[in-house]
């Protein structure tokens, strides 16, 4: 007698149901639509903008929004609409890079502290608490100043490092719960080494959580890159980056509001879109 599988396809069904939920969730659809829009703008760049975002400088400075310049022109007479369309490129590289770095390091640290526990966990956890007690911007500015470079990649590295303990703490909590499962003991009893157990046995089980955490962090990363850029670190002129535009024009905001409003709205739309997607993913996994 051979026993055949019952309820085959249950897990596959659950997964396809999850995808189905994701596809049907309005927040995911709207969020993903906005993100895709900005990603395609970043890829197509100058090909779709009515003017060159950097070099088309006219005498017509601070022109009001009009049919020729939908979002008006800035202090050098550049078309704000073109610059908003082209302005997503740098932040869409720097923010995901920062998030990726933070997620990879944070997940590794969370796995190690959660699985090893003991003295490693105590020391690292206290350090994490200490880092979390400081405001992100202060750490970032201090670190960038200490590094002596204001480049965008330095900002990405610093934001990634700042995110590391935050992600590590979330992952650690999940690993602590996972560690109590019997399959961990089974792995130990067949002589598996700790790195194998952490990365091959535990990691796949905390991946959904890591995914959710990464999307949440991506929203914050966009915000952090924009903030640091605005105070002069990170992405630099002449990039048409949104935060660079705000930095460039904010002293003239009264009465030339369009030079700041449209890039600011663009940043907000991207942050909100990422958060919508992240909420949707979270809900699909919590069901």
């Amino acid at each position: 007698m051979t026993v055949v599988a019952a309820g085959g396809g249950e897990a596959r069904a659950a997964r396809s149901e999850r995808l189905h939920l994701l596809r049907r969730s309005p927040s995911v659809l709207i969020g993903a639509g906005i993100v895709l829009f900005w990603v395609s703008c970043a890829i197509l760049g100058n090909h779709i903008t009515p003017y060159d975002p950097i070099y088309d400088q006219t005498q017509n400075i601070f022109a009001h929004p009009s049919s020729a310049h939908w979002f008006g022109t800035d202090r050098l007479g550049r078309d704000v609409f073109s610059r908003v369309l082209a302005g997503s490129r740098d932040i869409l590289l720097v923010a995901p890079a920062a998030t990726l770095l933070g997620t990879v390091l944070g997940t590794a640290l969370g796995l190690i502290t959660g699985y090893m526990r003991g003295i490693v966990d105590d020391v690292v956890s206290r350090l994490i608490d200490a880092v979390l007690a400081l405001p992100l911007i202060i750490i970032a500015v201090t670190a960038i100043a200490a590094l002596g470079t204001r480049s965008a990649w330095a900002v990405a590295v610093v934001i990634g490092l700042v995110f590391t303990p935050i992600i590590a703490r979330t992952v650690r909590a999940a690993v602590l719960a996972e560690r109590e499962q019997d399959y961990i003991q089974a792995a130990q009893l067949r002589g598996e080494r700790s790195p194998y157990i952490m990365f091959v046995e535990v990691l796949p089980n905390v991946m959904p959580l890591v995914l959710v955490e990464a999307t949440v962090r991506l929203g914050y990363a966009i915000f952090a890159v924009a903030s640091l850029t605005f105070i002069g670190f990170g992405i630099q002129v002449p990039s048409p980056d949104w935060a660079v535009q705000i930095f460039d024009n904010y002293t003239y905001v009264d009465p030339n509001w369009w030079t700041v409003l449209f890039p600011a709205a663009a940043i907000a739309s991207l942050v909100v879109a990422v958060n919508l997607v992240s909420d949707g993913i979270q809900q699909a996994y919590e069901r």
């Binding site: 026993v3 599988a5 309820g7 085959g8 249950e10 499962q181 089974a186 130990q188 009893l189 046995e201």
Partner: protein
């Protein structure tokens, strides 16, 4: 059925259909359930998981989950149709006249509210003033035989044992003097001794208060003890119903016959016969079943059974069954051949594992907790040593100490005569492969993200050193020997049923041809038909390969079936050790005697219940003298309180830790 009954039934399901909406489709879970609970009666409802037992309980108070709906028939409580009640009336019905007790008392109590306030709330919700409610809470706790209600009222749920928690829940359920009490697996997570106490309590209260009870359980022994009538549910249909003795002694539906054959009972042991099983699986949720619901798994089924739903036939006084072949039900052919040949255990050979004077001390809040005290024993090749005792007796600690998950504080473990390192990290791969484990909960034991194939191949690589084609070949042999089909290999654990998952876990443990496998309650999370198949598998693996088992279970019938010898633990001490026949046949240690008497059996009657007073004492401050003296019904006197009896060989290797001489025990227990 007469339309106007002289007295309305306390609960009546009338051709009830319930469906759950899953992925946009309605799936039927109850199919025309008709069952009456008359006033003052206790009616049992049995069936395996997924049969719809709990759905029936929820439907009784119209409290189905959001995706559930009643699609036909009626539910009447005390003559009132529950479906026609308005929201306010329904709330009053749930508050005043129907009470429910669920399986897990820990989840039924709010962990952040003291017991006193929680029980009092059951009264204030019905309009009793606060001060009076506390007094009545006190009385309610006293009524469920809680010895010291005042101190219990000041405690939080987590400070109480499972049995005490369940009593509190029952006290709350009875607060409103319900006309109908629904018990959904009320003792499933409890120790046999505690289960017996809770069942006694329910029976006594039921007699006192004349409450009507719907008793849901998968345990036929419990049903036999508690109920006057029983309904057998399969795939949402009541396939048999009648007086308990009649249904259990003369079952007339093949499903009931199969269920009863799956249970190891009447002293049957592995060398007598294989257990019978019920082949196949429960039909999937909401499957179209035009004929008999059991047809796919029934050896008696013919064309008529496939085509036509069997009508209810009366087969005895008040005994109905839905089977076209009810007259032949008892002739149901066995699904498993009964014959089996086992090798006799050779105890002149060297034991596989010997553990001597094992002790384990845990530190807890600065106190020493002695989880194991001077436990010694041997396990011979091809032998099964059963380990029994209440929770907290040290069974799991002993198993974990052998495996090296927990390092012994004193004493040591030998494998084939060579001392083992106390912790598994220091043991060689050879030693690791020799000692393996099958866990209780197969969901937790298998990595949900790995396929069956990956799980088994990895174990073969680590435990047997096999890779490539050799590993593939061995994997196929292994899956074949645990009776898994090849197509399960590509599946993830969540795609498998509980029994199949447990087979994967067994295959993994057997990857390195182990010498001793610890089986830690391997069947307690499974239905009885699946349990029987897993027990058969373990016995076959033992017959083929001569592996030894250390088998932990709280189900004494299972332990008796599979074990060659049995060790009884209490508070970390070995109280009795002997062959299964002797330990179960007697004379027993007074503790073993109490354990055995607590188990409700399908055959009913038999032993007189021996009550153990109170809970197992704390291992942090064990009683002086014999640790069992505080609860021992056969205590002699001062000697038991002052001197700990030694573990002596009473007769032919039957070890016993008791001051009462063996002959005296034999006389007392006759």
């Amino acid at each position: 059925m007469s339309a106007v009954a002289p007295q309305p039934a306390a609960l009546e399901f009338d051709a009830l259909d319930v469906a759950y909406t899953v992925r946009g489709k309605d799936r039927q879970v109850l199919r025309g359930l008709t069952l009456r609970v008359d006033a003052g009666q206790t009616i049992g409802l049995v069936g395996e998981s997924g049969c719809g037992k709990s759905t029936a309980a929820l439907a009784a108070v119209n409290y189905l989950p959001r995706n559930g709906k009643i699609t036909g028939g009626a539910v009447r409580v005390a003559g009132k149709d529950v479906l026609e009640l308005g929201w306010g009336e329904l709330r009053r019905l749930r508050a005043d006249s129907v009470a429910m007790v669920y399986q897990n008392p820990g989840a039924a109590l709010n962990p952040s509210i003291k017991i006193g306030s929680q029980v009092a709330e059951a009264f204030t919700v019905r309009g009793v003033a606060r001060g009076e409610a506390r007094e009545r809470a006190h009385d309610a706790l006293a009524r469920v035989q809680i010895a010291d209600p005042d101190s219990v009222m000041g405690r939080y749920p987590h400070q109480l044992s499972g049995g005490m928690q369940q009593r509190v829940v029952i006290a709350m359920a009875l607060a409103k003097d319900p006309a109908l009490l629904i018990l959904d697996e009320p003792t499933t997570g409890l120790d046999a001794t505690v289960e017996a106490e809770v069942l006694d309590l329910v029976a006594q209260l039921q007699a006192e208060l004349a409450t009507s009870v719907l008793f849901i359980s998968h345990n036929l022994g419990v049903i036999a003890k508690m109920c006057s009538r029983v309904g057998v549910l399969y795939a949402g249909r009541l396939v048999e119903e009648g007086p308990v003795e009649s249904v259990l002694q003369d079952p007339r539906h093949p499903y009931t016959v199969g269920l009863l054959r799956c249970i190891p009972r009447g002293g049957v042991r592995k060398d007598h016969a294989r257990l019978d099983t019920i082949p196949g699986f429960l039909p999937s949720l909401g499957a179209e079943l035009p004929g008999c619901v059991f047809v796919e798994r029934c050896a008696l089924a013919d064309e008529r059974c496939h085509a036509e739903e069997p009508a209810a036939s009366v087969v005895g006084p008040g005994h109905e069954t839905r089977c076209w072949h009810h007259d032949r039900a008892s002739e149901l052919p066995r699904a498993e051949a009964a014959d089996i040949t086992l090798r006799a255990v050779d105890r002149t050979a060297a034991p596989v594992v010997r553990f001597a004077d094992l002790g384990k001390v845990f530190k807890q809040h600065g106190h020493d907790v002695h989880a194991l005290v001077g436990v010694s024993g041997e396990i011979w090749p091809g032998e099964t040593l059963g380990l029994v005792g209440e929770s907290g007796s040290g069974k799991t600690t002993l198993a974990r100490t052998l495996l090296g998950i927990v390092a012994a504080s004193s004493g040591g473990v030998e494998l084939d005569g060579a001392a083992l390192a106390p912790r598994f990290q220091k043991r060689s791969p050879e030693e690791l492969r020799a000692l393996q484990i099958v866990f209780q909960n197969p969901d937790s034991a298998l990595n949900r993200r790995h396929s069956v194939r990956r799980i088994i191949l990895r174990s073969l690589r680590k435990l047997a050193g096999l890779t490539g084609a050799a590993a593939e070949q061995r994997m196929l042999d292994l899956t074949h020997s645990v009776r898994l089909s090849e197509r399960t290999l590509t599946q993830k654990p969540s795609q498998l049923s509980g029994g199949l998952k447990q087979r994967v876990a067994i295959a993994r443990a057997f990857a390195g041809e182990p010498r001793l496998v610890v089986c830690d309650e391997p069947t307690s999370a499974l239905d009885v038909s699946v349990q029987a198949a897993i027990l058969n598998l373990l016995v076959e693996l033992q017959a083929d390969g001569g592996v030894s088992f250390l088998f932990i279970s709280h189900d004494l019938g299972v332990v008796r079936y599979i074990s060659d010898r049995i060790a009884v633990l209490y508070l970390g001490r070995l109280m009795e050790l002997g062959s299964a026949e002797v330990v179960f046949g007697g004379p027993h240690h007074p503790y073993t005697e109490a354990l055995l008497s607590a188990v409700p059996t399908v055959d009913g009657g038999g032993r007189e219940r021996i009550r153990l007073e109170g809970d197992i004492p704390s291992a942090a401050s064990p009683p002086a003298g014999c640790v069992f003296h505080t609860r021992c019904p056969r205590k002699l006197g001062a000697v038991c309180e002052e001197t700990e009896p030694p573990l002596l060989d009473a007769e032919d290797g039957h070890l016993m830790r008791c001051h009462i001489p063996l002959d005296e025990l034999r006389r007392l227990q006759r």
